[in-house]
Structure formats: C-alpha cells, structure tokens
C-alpha cells in the first residue's frame, strides 16, 4: 500500500509542478486578451484598466497563482474572458468528449495490438510475423497528420462516414438508440485514425516483450512439461511480459491524448483540441491554462492507473 500512496503523492506533486509551469509561461507572454481592445477608439484607456483590474490581470504573478488556486478550490479554475463564465464547466463538456474519444481508441488499439503482437511473437519468422511487422513498419512511417487527412479524404469521397462533428443535425429529436448509433457513426473516423496511429508502436513492444519472455528458461521448462502451446503463450509468457506493457499502457493514454488534439481539429470533434486552439487564438488565458492542465491530469491519471495495475500484476512490487 505504501507503494501506491507514494505513486499517488508523486502524481499530485507532478500536477502542482505543471500548474506552476503553466503560470510561469503566462508571465513570459507579451500581451493579453484586452490588448487588442486598445486599438478600438471607443474603449478608453480607463475602461481597459478597469477591466484588467476586474479580472485581476494587473496583479503580480504570485498573487494571481494564489487566486487561481482559490478558484480551483471553488471548482472554477479561473474565468474565461471570451465566454464570460468560469472555466471549469466549459472545460467539462469538452473534456467529456475528448475522454470518450481517447478511451475508446485506447481500448480498441490495445484490443488489436495485443493479439497481433502475441501472435506475431509466437509465429516469429513465419509469414504471419512478417505481415504484421511489415504492416506496422509501413504504418510507422506514415505521419499522423497524413494518416488523419488521408482517412478523412477517403471518408469524404466515398461518403461512407460523416466527415466530421459529433452528431448529425436534428440529432436531438431522435430516440435514444438512434442517437447512440448516430454518435457511433461519427466516432468511427476519429477512433480509427487514433487507433491505427498507435498500432505500430504498441504491436512492436508487445511483440518484443513476448518474444523475449518466450526465450526464458521457465517457459521452456513449462513447454517440456507438456503444457499446451496456447496456454504457454497466453498464461506464462504474456504474464512475464506484462510489466513493461503495463507501463506502456499508461504512456499510450498520454500519446493518444496528444494525438487526439490534432485529430479532433481535423474531424471537427468538439473536444479539448479545437477549444484550446480557439482559446489560444483569442488569448483566453485561463482557458489555455485549464486545458493544458486538464490534459496533464488525464495523462497523470493514466500513469497512475498503470501503477495500480502493476501493483496488481507484479508480486515483486507488492512485497517491496
């Protein structure tokens, strides 16, 4: 249990560090949301100063950080200038959409990569292995953006899938089942892009870890005892190979989260990505900080989940 407590503390400290970092960057920034208003002759400099004072932009950095922490405790995470509303509820909706996308594609990516990697390691050197490693080598050299735009292009040309967005027009009026089906149809494209993009790295690692485990003495001993091949691979080798793969699982959440930013913009999925982009262009300070930090929370949570899984899977860590 001490291990888990330590990992949790570690995660919290990381988040604290990230928030300080985000605020430091804001201090380096020349200009703010209200600077563009200066060009407007109808807004006097007194009004501007009053607005700045109202949003506490005239306070020093340390004070602003303390105030932000206080507003975080209230569950607001600062104030959006552009939306004229607290940041947290705005972020919550987008974060839900991003999570839906990221978690689905993480699960899908692993559901494909794990069997493929294990199969390819087991058939090492044979045609299955060659096809799998060859395909993942090809996928690896296709940049994410090319993959995303390519699939989108195919979807648009063939009209098989909706070209973007999360729901169709008039979705509200449909019955529940039809709404879910509509959502699923819209999810196919972004999830496919993300899951395909993550494939090569996952498959390679799974293959390498299982192939290494299959070489171990205890696996050969088990084989000599007449344990069937399938059981040998899935129960013995995979279990021994699980350790690095679980860490990779934590990382893959973060990688897919980063990737989803671009994919969301390309497929106009109303998640954190387009929201953050819009906030950057509008210099909506606290929304940017909130978005960056929220994504960090997801990532750190992913790594923490991996730590918990490791604790569960690896007896050496439990007894430590």
């Amino acid at each position: 249990m001490r291990y888990l407590a330590r990992r949790f503390l570690h995660a919290v400290l990381l988040l604290g560090g990230a928030s300080v970092l985000a605020f430091l960057f804001t201090a380096l920034a020349p200009g703010n949301y209200f600077d563009e208003m200066r060009l407007n002759p109808q807004i006097s400099s007194e009004t501007l100063a009053a607005l700045k004072a109202h949003y506490d932009l005239d306070k020093p950095l340390g004070v602003r950080y303390a105030m932000w922490l206080k507003s975080l405790a209230r569950g607001e995470m600062g104030y959006s200038f552009a939306y004229n509303a607290p940041v947290a509820p705005l972020l919550a909706v987008r974060a839900r959409n991003t999570l839906l996308l990221t978690l689905t594609s993480t699960l899908l990516a692993w559901c494909i990569a794990l069997p493929l990697g294990v199969w390819s390691a087991e058939q090492s050197g044979r045609w299955v292995d060659r096809v799998v490693t060859g395909a993942s080598a090809i996928l690896l050299v296709i940049p994410d953006i090319a993959l995303a735009l390519g699939l989108l292009m195919i979807a648009v040309k063939t009209r098989w899938l909706p070209a973007g967005g999360m729901v169709s027009v008039g979705n509200e009026g449909l019955p529940f089942a039809a709404r879910i089906a509509d959502l699923a149809r819209h999810m196919v494209l972004p999830v496919a892009i993300l899951a395909l993009g993550a494939q090569p790295i996952l498959v390679r690692h799974v293959r390498a870890a299982v192939a290494e485990a299959l070489e171990e003495g205890f696996v050969r001993a088990a084989e000599a005892h007449g344990i069937p091949r399938r059981r040998l691979v899935w129960k013995y080798a995979l279990r021994a190979a699980a350790n690095p793969l679980i860490s990779l699982f934590g990382f893959s959440i973060g990688a897919l989260l980063s990737g989803s930013l671009l994919v969301e913009v390309i497929t106009s999925w109303p998640g954190l990505g387009p929201f953050l982009l819009e906030a950057i262009l509008a210099r909506d300070l606290y929304v940017v900080i909130g978005g960056v930090l929220l994504s960090t929370v997801f990532l750190v949570a992913g790594n923490f989940i991996a730590d918990v899984l490791l604790f569960w899977a690896d007896p050496r860590i439990r007894t430590e």
């Binding site: 990381l14 560090g17 990230a18 970092l21 985000a22 960057f25 804001t26 380096l28 920034a29 020349p30 200009g31 690896l140 050299v141 296709i142 940049p143 994410d144 953006i145 090319a146 735009l149 390519g150 989108l152 292009m153 648009v156 040309k157 070209a163 973060g254 989260l257 980063s258 990737g259 930013l261 671009l262 913009v265 390309i266 954190l272 953050l276 982009l277 906030a279 950057i280 262009l281 210099r283 940017v288 900080i289 978005g291 960056v292 994504s295 960090t296 997801f298 990532l299 750190v300 790594n303």
Partner: protein, 345 residues
C-alpha cells in the same frame, strides 16, 4: 555487424540525397513558391507525354497545355493541340541557391507555357515548387529543434549523471515533469503565450525554440544513464587520479561515450520535430502564409471543398513519408548496431 553498418551507410546516403533535393529546391523547382498564376487555380497535375494527339513520338518530353472546361471554373482539360515541350536547364525565376547564391538556372521548365507537375493551389501557385521550398523550412525546423533538444539534453543529462546528488534529482524531476505533460498540448501552451502575429522569420524561430526546448527530457534521461555508468569506468578514475578537471573528463571521456545514444535519439527526434512543426503550421500557429511549409500547405485541406475536390493538395503529406522512412529506419539500424556492439564487448 558488417551488414548492419552497410545498411546504415545506405540509409545515410538515402537521407543525404533527399535533403540534397530539398536544399537545392530552388534549382529543382521550376517556379518561385509565391508566384501566382491567377487564371489557373487548382489546376490538376499534368502528365508528361512522349506521344502527341496524332500518336507521333517526340524525343523531348512535353505536357499538354491546360484549359478550363467550358461552363466550369475549376475543371481543366488537356488542350491536345498545344504541346508545351519540357526544357532542361532553363533560365527562369531568380532564386538563391542554398539561401545565398543568386541564380536563375532551373533543372527543368517550359518556355511556351507552364508546367505544373503536381498541379497548383487556390492561387495558381505551383505545388511542386511549394513542396520543395516548404520542405526547406520544415526540415530546417526539425533539424534545428532536434539540435536544441539534444544540446540541452546532453548537457543536463551529462551533468546530472556525472555529478549526481541534488543536481541529478532536480534535473530528473524536471525531466519527469516535461515527460508527464502531453507534449502537443504543452507545445500549444508555450505557443499560446508567444505573439500571434509575427514576421515569418520570427515565427520560424519561435516554433523551433518552442519545440526544441520541450523535447530535451528523453535524451537527457538516456544521456544521464550513460554518464552514470561511464564515470565509474577505470580510465575515468585514472584520469581523475591524475588530477584531470571535471570539464576535461566530461569533454574527453564522458560525452564521447554518449555518442551512439545521442545519434540514435537524433534519428528519432528529427522526424518527430518535423511533425511538430507541420502540426503547428497546419493549425495556423506556426509559419504563416505566403511562405510555404509542409504544415501550412496542408492547412487548405481543412476546407471541405478542397478536401473533396482537389486530391493533389494532399501531396505535401505524402512528401513527408520518404523522410520519415529514412530517419526511422536509420534509428532502428543504429539501435541494432549498438545492441550488436554491446554483445561484442
């Protein structure tokens, strides 16, 4: 071992060739990247022909002149009556070779018309030329950002591994922090706080520095590992025993040992940073128009009409693939090599 090193050489040559084509882009490209041909927006790529409409063979390759189909504004057809012969080593739009040598000589071009090998964009600019010029910016951004990252990473990682103690803990906590943040979001965050509307040169520098400054953590961790084991080697202890200074030991004994790790990281980081620049420019946060970069060339695909009608606008994405192939294959060849070297020891 032999095969691995031959493979590495082949890959390095392949990469040098690719970069050479892009660096000499002004010579290879027939047109200036921002020269517009307003009456020819979204002209499709032209095929090179050897046989004319009557089936006669011509030794000199040619393209047919393109004209807008009657009753449309963006549909083109070949005007098979007008042949535009391809001329080699022609004088054309002025450019600066390697960025400084003024020149007018182009690898190929056409005198009696225009030749757009990969079509044109919405302003009638030659896409082939824009991809080459854009490649210069994207590759340079990737290479510079990788150098920045590796420089910071090597220094921080080397110092952390060599001195240990609190230097090490602070450096490694900072590295962990940088690795914990989803890097594309982080890049966005950094970019968010820099001026939005800036000159192309400044924008370029900002992109490079932002990308490079964020990527130091992984190389730093790896270099630290090498430095940690290197400082316990006998010859390092002997050197210290003879009174060598820390700076000397680092320069002479520690950093040379990190070479293979740094090279492998370079081969991994360069394509990653090219992609980072492409992503930023694609989203309008990087290098602004009219200067081309692979990212902002692709950004027109964000319009549905372009995406659905003009497939050749996708070609800048395809141009990245050979570069990625070269770099990633080189990275895995380097890793293989170092693994083999370890077994040899």
């Amino acid at each position: 071992m032999k095969i691995a090193s031959r493979k590495r050489h082949a890959l390095v040559l392949f990469l040098i060739f690719l970069h050479g084509v892009v660096i000499a882009g002004g010579f290879v490209a027939p047109y200036d990247p921002i020269q517009q041909e307003r009456e020819k927006p979204y002209a499709p790529p032209t095929a090179i022909h050897f046989f004319d409409a009557q089936g006669r063979f011509h030794l000199r390759p040619f393209v047919f002149s393109q004209r807008v189909k009657e009753g449309s504004f963006d549909q083109y057809e070949d005007d098979t009556a007008v042949r535009v012969p391809v001329k080699f080593f022609v004088s054309g739009a002025p450019y600066r070779l390697f960025g400084f040598l003024p020149a007018r000589l182009h690898l190929f071009g056409a005198k009696e018309g225009t030749i757009h090998l990969l079509g044109t964009d919405g302003y009638g600019r030659d896409l082939f030329s824009r991809i080459l010029y854009g490649g210069q910016i994207s590759l340079l951004a990737g290479l510079l950002a990788a150098s920045v990252s590796l420089l910071i990473g090597t220094i921080v990682g080397g110092a952390a591994g060599y001195w240990g103690g609190w230097t090490d803990s602070i450096a490694m906590r900072a590295a962990e922090l940088c690795l914990a943040l989803p890097w594309l979001y982080l890049l966005f965050g950094v970019r968010a706080f820099l001026p939005l509307l800036v000159s192309p040169v400044k924008a370029f520098l900002i992109v490079v520095i932002a990308i490079g400054a964020l990527g130091w953590a992984r190389p730093a961790r790896l270099v630290r590992g090498v430095a940690l084991s290197a400082k316990e080697r006998d010859f390092v202890r002997v050197a210290r025993g003879f009174g060598a200074s820390n700076a000397y030991i680092l320069r002479r004994h520690i950093f040379p040992q990190t070479k293979s790790v740094v090279l492998t990281q370079a081969a991994i980081l360069v394509p990653q940073f090219i992609l980072a620049e492409v992503t930023l420019s694609f989203l309008g946060l990087g290098i602004p128009e009219p200067a081309p970069s692979w990212g902002n060339l692709l950004s027109s695909l964000q319009q549905y009409s372009v995406l659905s009608s003009y497939w050749w606008m996708y070609l800048p994405a395809a141009a990245m693939v050979p570069f990625f192939l070269g770099y990633l294959a080189l990275a895995s060849a380097l890793q293989e090599g170092s693994r083999a070297a370890k077994i040899d020891l």
